[in-house]
């Protein structure tokens, strides 16, 4: 593997919340343009891995590198600003800003944080809303949108930062089966375009289809990782087999 291709590298990352150790020596590297799915039971540390990658949660030991940024050495929000520009995140609960319209949600951060030209940002925001098929909802407030629509606005908001990586944290977990599809379609397009994605998901079928690599986590460790065909069809670890046996 060519080292210069590696965009994200986690090495022996440990993290505890009080006495509870969530991450026990997580090592993971993600290449530029790769789509990695993280699967595993609840409480296995999947979401925490994502939050550590963009610095929302500080780690106890180990190292995290994203591009040229050494995330584990960053202490203040100000130092993390360039990193946040490079890494966007989409949340399970959408977390749109309810006092702003869909279009404003997408435009806010590029204008207020990155200082981009408002006119140029509006063009970009409308293009992104069209991309997630929500052009006609540009002036609606989040409270007027369905869960699936809100989540697609959140994806457009993440894209508006023009990131190199997007982290998806169980983005379909709060949606009903029908709307899951529209959100997954939007994500699949991004993966096909070659955007680097790390997805925490319970949608096994989707993981098998879009992922270049699947990681199975349990009790704060990556138990097994490999191409989807290997993980889903010929899992090596008994714990992976047990988990997949229950969900598939």
């Amino acid at each position: 593997m060519n080292r210069s291709d590696v965009l994200i590298e986690l090495d022996q990352v440990n993290k505890s919340f009080g006495a509870f150790q969530v991450l026990k020596g997580i090592s993971l590297s993600v290449k530029d343009g790769e789509a990695v799915c993280i699967i595993g039971p609840s409480g296995s540390g999947k979401s925490t891995i994502l939050r550590c990658i963009n610095g929302l949660i500080p780690i106890d030991s180990g190292s995290i590198r994203v591009g040229t940024h050494a995330v584990h050495k960053m202490k203040t929000e100000k130092e993390m600003r360039p990193l946040r520009h490079q890494v966007s995140m989409v949340f399970q609960q959408y977390n749109l800003f309810p006092h702003r319209t869909a279009l404003q949600n997408v435009m806010m951060a590029p204008i207020q944080v990155l200082g981009h030209d408002p006119k140029e940002v509006e063009v970009r925001a409308r293009r992104l809303l069209a991309k997630v098929r929500l052009s006609e909802k540009a002036d609606s407030y989040p409270g007027q949108l369905s869960g699936g629509q809100q989540q697609r606005v959140a994806i457009a908001r993440a894209l508006a930062m023009e990131p190199q990586v997007i982290l998806f944290d169980e983005v379909t977990a709060a949606l009903d089966p029908e709307t899951v599809k529209e959100v997954l379609t939007a994500i699949r397009e991004l993966v096909d375009e070659g955007l680097t994605c790390i997805l925490v998901t319970h949608e096994m079928k989707f993981a098998r289809e879009v992922a270049d690599r699947v990681c199975f986590t349990d009790h704060g460790r990556i138990v097994e990782s490999g191409p989807p065909a290997q993980i889903f069809d010929a899992p090596q670890d008994p714990r992976t087999r047990e988990f997949l046996g229950q969900v598939l």
Partner: protein, 270 residues
């Protein structure tokens, strides 16, 4: 046909009952010679309202209570905002003293605070050799503003902390700095939740201005007591009912408006 009686129907029936009972009492009382009492109140009403027998210019009475409540609320808003953000500060050295001050003021009886201010604040302040007299009105404003400020601060803190933590996470992940997160994302949402609380607080403060009679200002209660010295004992009750009604008429619409706003704010989180 099944008879459906909803909660709202019952509530309306009870309210109607109360209004009818009050009207009936007034009618019966008037028939028994109470009209004379009301006539006395009517003759004195301009003094009660404005502190002036002819009704103008405003020099006291209920108008002074309103003015006092507005001044105290303005000062409380200023102090309360400082205190509220102090309680939200990350730095313990700021946060802990603010919590202490807030709890102390919030758990003190308003009347005791008023008396305390009356004696703590000197009658004259000497500044650069000039002696400035501190009017009783200023003491009343400060005395009422202190507990109000503490409650004001609690409303700010409660509203800010009621904003879902996901909003912070999302804003941080978009690269916003903490101050910008407050200013652009948290406060615009929290403000809508603060306003009904502040209106309720103002109504409470307005009611509490009646305590300011202890400072000797010519508010409606002081005026009332002066008037009663000249009135027949039998009509005292009519005067007190009138004073009660003045406060009710001023505060109840505020409470109604606050409740309506509370309901419109509900459920728009997330």
């Amino acid at each position: 046909m099944a008879l459906l009686v909803t909660y709202a129907d019952k509530k309306r029936a009870v309210q109607l009952g109360i209004v009818l009972a009050v009207a009936a009492w007034i009618g019966l009382d008037a028939a028994a010679g109470g009209g004379e009492g009301w006539a006395r109140v009517w003759a004195r009403l301009p003094i009660l309202l404005t502190g002036n027998g002819s009704g103008w210019p405003l020099s006291g009475g209920f108008a002074l209570n309103i003015f006092l409540s507005l001044c105290a609320m303005a000062l409380a808003a200023l102090l309360g905002t400082v205190l509220g953000f102090g309680m939200l500060a990350k730095n313990r050295l700021v946060r802990v003293p603010c919590f202490f001050v807030m709890n102390f003021l919030r758990n003190s009886p308003w009347l005791v605070l008023l008396f305390a201010m009356l004696y703590i604040i000197p009658f004259n302040i000497r500044l650069f050799g000039i002696s400035i007299a501190v009017p009783a009105f200023v003491k009343a404003v400060i005395g009422l503003a202190l507990p109000t400020a503490a409650n004001f601060a609690e409303i700010i803190r409660g509203a800010v902390q009621s904003i879902h933590s996901g909003q912070w996470e999302a804003a941080r992940s978009l690269g916003y700095m903490p101050m910008a997160i407050y200013w652009r994302i948290i406060l615009p949402q929290a403000l809508r939740r603060m306003i009904p609380g502040w209106m309720n607080l103002y109504a409470l403060l307005m009611i509490a201005t009646s305590l300011a009679t202890v400072t000797g200002i010519q508010d409606v209660i002081t005026t009332l007591n002066t008037l009663l010295a000249m009135e027949n004992e039998r009509v005292i009750v009519y005067f007190y009912i009138t004073a009660l009604f003045l406060f009710f008429a001023f505060c109840y619409p505020l409470a109604l408006l606050a409740r309506r706003m509370e309901q419109s704010v509900k459920g728009d989180s997330l």
